[in-house]
């Protein structure tokens, strides 16, 4: 009697030398959980902050090292990098560029998380999230000065998910990454120390709609699997290019996946959660979400549609044109009516998603010898510029306060330029960057996405984008007028002096916005060197 032949077992090859930045972040997040379990409460804050900053800094250094020795991908002229972890993750130029930007912005966000001086020696997060708002338990937690230091490991997990999301090379990994990045964010949104009800409402809304969109995404994955018979993007690309089988399955799958991804980048008509969540979440979390989630989600969107569905671009391009136009119009026009600074910045972030989609919908990849700007390059640059300005702007929002915490109603910002010219000046500068005035990073960003879109033949989209830029400029200028040309109403808010943590975050973001505006060459070159995606 002979045993049936056992297939020979080969252990999976994991390229640790390429993946370690990702592993550092997840590792530190896990260590952070252990710290929560074993360290006494009063020591956790310092340990967690140091751990998070060191972890992210280490991962950033690692990312730079990985980026430095990426090899040219086999059989491709423009891509550098490789598909690692048995086809689950691709470590290529765009991935490491996104990792670098994400990690840099995460460090700044963690600095904002750790800010304690603004709330009088305690973080801006709920002391005891489980205590119901307005109860005795909450009051006790508040008088005892309890704070949740779990926010740091939660943020680390979110950063890990964000890094994996745009790097995922098969759809299942991508879905897992999506959940890993989303779940901690749902929690973080509900943890505000002040105005807890609106914060919790934001968390529930985000969770429900987020879960809904994840379901769409997953259903889309299922349909695409049904069409292509594989989860890997390269396999899907082959199936799409060869046009096997029924197109309806592919179109439906593509559409559903797009819903999930566009939800995350807060493109209209999937943007409804954005203003509520941005307003309700603790401002530091909003800064983190608005910048990093958008970067990660755009990375994934680009990878799925350029690599997986590149062969069907004539099917999805019209849809993206429409989504881009709706997003720009909704973001810019509705922002005009906002009276809350955080909601206004939320709509501005929707409008920026629209401008980014303009670059995306242009689908201009260039040829191998092309030295001009491509869609991918322009979007990477725009995301960098937008990310730094966003973190900076929200950092400023944390500093304008009155007795009830942050004074986010626009009327409270009147006359801020008189009270604190420096702070108002810096905020005005960020607004000018959002508006795309030359000498700021926003201008170069806008210029690049518009050029890429026009190069790809989407010039009508560019014209709409230009008109919408004027509308958007109006509401940014309105805030500048309010700060500099109106007199304060009544008491007016005070400008709290933050600790060095927020100070560093603001200084770095201002510097980045200036440098990216005046000498954008190096970062543009980096984005160009990132080349295209590996397949």
């Amino acid at each position: 009697m002979t045993l049936p032949m056992q297939p020979e077992f080969t252990s999976p090859v994991i390229e640790y030398s390429r993946l370690y930045p990702l592993l550092i972040v997840f590792g530190v997040a896990a260590v952070g959980v252990l710290v929560e379990a074993f360290l006494p409460r009063d020591r956790r804050y310092l340990v967690q902050v140091v751990l998070a900053v060191l972890g992210l800094g280490g991962a950033l250094a690692g990312t730079i090292l990985v980026a430095a020795d990426l090899d040219v991908a086999a059989g491709d002229l423009t891509a550098r990098g490789l598909v690692a972890a048995e086809g689950a993750v691709s470590i290529d130029g765009p991935t490491v560029f996104i990792w670098g930007v994400l990690l840099a912005l995460s460090i700044l966000s963690v600095l904002l998380f750790a800010e304690r001086r603004l709330e009088g020696g305690i973080t801006a997060f709920a002391g005891q999230a489980a205590a119901l708002p307005g109860t005795e338990a909450e009051r006790q937690a508040s008088t005892r000065g309890i704070e949740h230091t779990e926010i740091f490991p939660l943020a680390m997990f979110a950063v890990g998910g964000m890094m994996l999301f745009p790097a995922a090379n098969d759809l299942l990994t991508m879905f897992v990454a999506l959940e890993v990045l989303s779940l901690p964010l749902y929690l973080l949104c509900g943890l505000a120390r002040r105005r807890r009800l609106i914060s919790q409402e934001a968390a529930v809304k985000y969770f429900l709609l987020g879960a809904f969109s994840s379901a769409f995404f997953l259903y889309g994955i299922a349909l695409v699997y049904g069409y292509a018979g594989t989860f890997t993007l390269a396999g899907i690309d082959r199936a799409v290019t060869d046009r096997v089988g029924g197109q309806n399955l592919l179109l439906a799958g593509m559409g559903l996946m797009a819903v999930g991804l566009l939800f995350k980048v807060s493109a209209a008509p999937f943007h409804a959660w954005t203003p509520d969540v941005y307003q309700g979440a603790p401002t530091a979390v909003t800064a983190f979400m608005a910048s990093c989630t958008k970067i990660a989600a755009f990375g994934a969107l680009l990878r799925v549609f350029f690599v997986g569905f590149g062969g069907a671009q004539w099917d999805w391009r019209p849809m993206m044109w429409i989504v881009a136009i709706i997003t720009m119009v909704v973001g810019s026009v509705v922002a005009l009516t906002q009276t809350d600074i955080k909601r206004m910045l939320a709509y501005s972030s929707i409008a920026h998603a629209g401008f980014l989609l303009v670059g995306f919908a242009g689908v201009f990849e260039g040829s191998s010898g092309y030295t001009g700007i491509t869609s991918l390059q322009s979007i990477l640059f725009y995301l960098t510029a937008y990310g730094f300005a966003t973190v900076g702007a929200f950092a400023i929002v944390t500093m304008v306060r009155d007795a009830g915490g942050e004074a986010t109603h626009l009327s409270r910002w009147a006359g801020l330029g008189k009270r604190s010219p420096l702070l108002a000046g810096v905020f005005a500068f960020f607004l000018l960057a959002f508006a795309g005035i030359p000498m700021t990073s926003g201008f170069i960003g806008k210029w690049s996405v518009f050029s890429a879109a026009w190069s790809g033949g989407a010039w009508p989209l560019v014209v709409v984008a230009v008109v919408m830029s004027v509308v958007a400029a109006f509401f940014y200028v309105r805030v500048i007028v309010l700060m500099f040309f109106s007199d304060p109403v009544g008491e007016g808010p005070t400008v709290a002096v933050p600790s060095a943590l927020t100070g560093i975050a603001v200084a770095v973001t201002v510097a980045a916005t200036v440098v990216l505006g005046v000498v954008p060459g190096p970062v543009l070159d980096l984005a160009q060197e990132a080349g295209s995606f590996v397949r």
């Binding site: 518009f450 026009w454 004027v470």
Partner: protein, 511 residues
């Protein structure tokens, strides 16, 4: 290419000066003003050196060129030709004059005196950069950047409606600017398709642009410049801005910044899109003629002195645009000279009426009467500035207006004839204003009006001298302008129409 970066130094001097002025202590006002004035005079001296070493007719000079953003094909490239040099001289000349005239205007503002003078210096530096830029991208960046200082100057130091005026100005300008951005992006795409992307004016001129693309891109540039210039129907921001801003700011706005519009037309519209310029020329000339008449008619009807001057400028800019798009050497040279002369004569008018208004507090013509009896110097300079504005022969503007009309006549007789009506109307609005405010019996409440003091006369004197000198002897400026203009028209591909009666025929007839 010269080794010493003259133009960079010229543009950087006021910019550095602005930072210095901003850093001076707020209390030391005695230092701030002389310091700012000194910096602007130094800039004028530098501009004088550049002008003295300029050789007419030798193309772009003092060129500097460095790669800036290579992916975009953008360069840091500066250089001046006759047109640019003329406008740089105008800018650097008017800034010290305005500063001297606005000595106390920064005091009642929203911010400190330091800020007021720093914005002015910053604006000067950026404007010099705009006129010297030979790279479209650099030009665009500086063009937009000039909005920021002028926005804060209008909004921070002026009348009660200044905030509204500032926002209106900014939105108009941003609209124009972003339309131009679309065209700038389009230029990139056009040049990237041919080879390496580039924004250098000299290289873009050689790139063939298809007819329809060229026309669209032309429109983007032209609308932006028309808003800036301003032409009817996109002029409505100017009366508000000029009326609410301080007189000094109005001068910088109308005499310097608005020239970027007409300068841009001649530098970029004509040179980059010759075919489209010819295609658009009939419509543009019609709009320009309409602006001439419309601006003049509205000026006649104004009671607010500053709004009146603003509308006269709409009329004068109509002449300038008409001269540019008539495509004759005579008219285009006249237009360029007009830019300079309009700059100084409008500056004189804004400043002298500003002095008048600051004495009595009202901007309304109906609140004045018989002022010349108690303030003869003020009245005399007012009359001189006014006569220059209505182009009295012997004053500088006459030469330029005559050249524009004479040149246009060979291109389009109806346009020239209708535009000539603008001169008649000009006499009406200026002389009516003068008559109502200065002549007649002295109004009792005007009795407290003092005559000009030494500082104010000192500010107006250079302008008065130039108005007279260039009226009799415009040759030096024309020598600088003419070769550049003919060179520009070569790009458009038009030659001056042949005279109906050739010169040789005249010779034969002569006894």
């Amino acid at each position: 290419m010269s080794s010493f970066p003259e133009l960079t130094v010229l543009a950087a001097t006021p910019l550095v000066g602005a930072v210095v002025v901003l850093l001076l202590p707020r209390r030391g006002r005695s230092v701030v003003k002389p310091m700012a004035l000194g910096i602007s005079v130094l800039t004028l001296a530098l501009a004088g050196v550049v002008a003295a070493r300029y050789e007419p007719g030798a193309g772009f000079q003092f060129s500097e060129e460095h790669d800036w953003i290579s992916v975009f094909g953008a360069h840091y490239a500066l250089g001046v030709d006759g047109i640019g040099l003329t406008l740089i001289l105008l800018t650097t000349l008017l800034t010290p004059v305005v500063m001297l005239a606005s000595w106390h205007d920064g005091e009642g503002g929203r911010w400190s005196v330091n800020t007021f003078f720093a914005w002015m210096l910053g604006l000067e530096g950026l404007a010099v950069g705009v006129f010297a830029a030979t790279d479209v991208f650099l030009f665009y960046v500086l063009f937009e950047a000039t909005l920021i200082p002028i926005y804060f100057l209008i909004g921070g130091y002026g009348g009660s409606q200044r905030s509204y005026a500032a926002v209106k100005f900014l939105l108009y300008s941003l609209l124009g600017g972003l339309l131009m951005l679309a065209s700038v992006v389009g230029l990139y795409v056009v040049s990237a398709r041919v080879g390496e992307p580039t924004y250098l004016l000299s290289e873009l001129r050689e790139i063939p642009i298809s007819e329809s693309t060229g026309r669209w891109l032309f429109l983007g540039f032209f609308i932006a410049f028309a808003i800036k210039a301003p032409m009817w129907p996109v002029h409505t921001w100017l009366p508000d801005a000029a009326s609410e801003a301080t007189p000094g700011t109005s001068v910088l706005l109308v005499s310097v910044l608005d020239k970027i519009g007409t300068f841009g037309m001649i530098r970029f519209c004509l040179q980059l899109f010759p075919e489209a310029s010819q295609w658009a020329s009939p419509v543009v000339i019609a709009l320009a003629v309409f602006s001439v008449i419309y601006g003049a008619l509205l000026a006649v009807g104004q009671n607010d002195i500053r709004r009146l001057i603003a509308y006269t400028s709409v009329s004068h800019f109509g002449f300038i645009v008409m001269g540019i798009f008539a495509f004759t050497t005579t008219s285009a040279s006249g237009s360029t000279l007009y830019m300079f002369n309009h700059g100084i004569s409008t500056a004189a008018l804004f400043l002298v009426t500003g002095f008048l208004v600051s004495r009595h507090g009202s901007k309304m013509i109906s609140d004045y009467g018989g002022v010349q009896k108690i303030a003869p110097v003020l009245a005399g300079l007012f009359l001189l500035a006014g006569l220059s504005s209505l182009s009295l022969p012997g004053l500088s503007t006459f030469v330029s207006e005559f050249l524009v009309l004479a040149g246009t006549f060979t291109h389009s007789v109806p346009a020239a004839v209708v535009a000539t009506l603008g001169i008649v109307l000009a006499a009406l609005y200026i002389l009516l204003m003068y008559q109502r405010t200065m002549t007649g019996p002295l109004r009792p409440d005007n009795a407290g009006i003092r005559d000009l003091n030494l500082r104010e006369v000192g500010a107006l004197a250079p302008l008065a001298v130039l108005i007279l000198a260039l009226g009799f002897f415009p040759r030096p400026l024309l020598d600088v302008i003419e070769p550049t203009v003919s060179e520009t028209l070569v790009y458009v591909g038009v030659t001056d129409p042949e005279p109906d009666v050739p010169v040789s025929a005249l010779d034969e007839e002569a006894p």
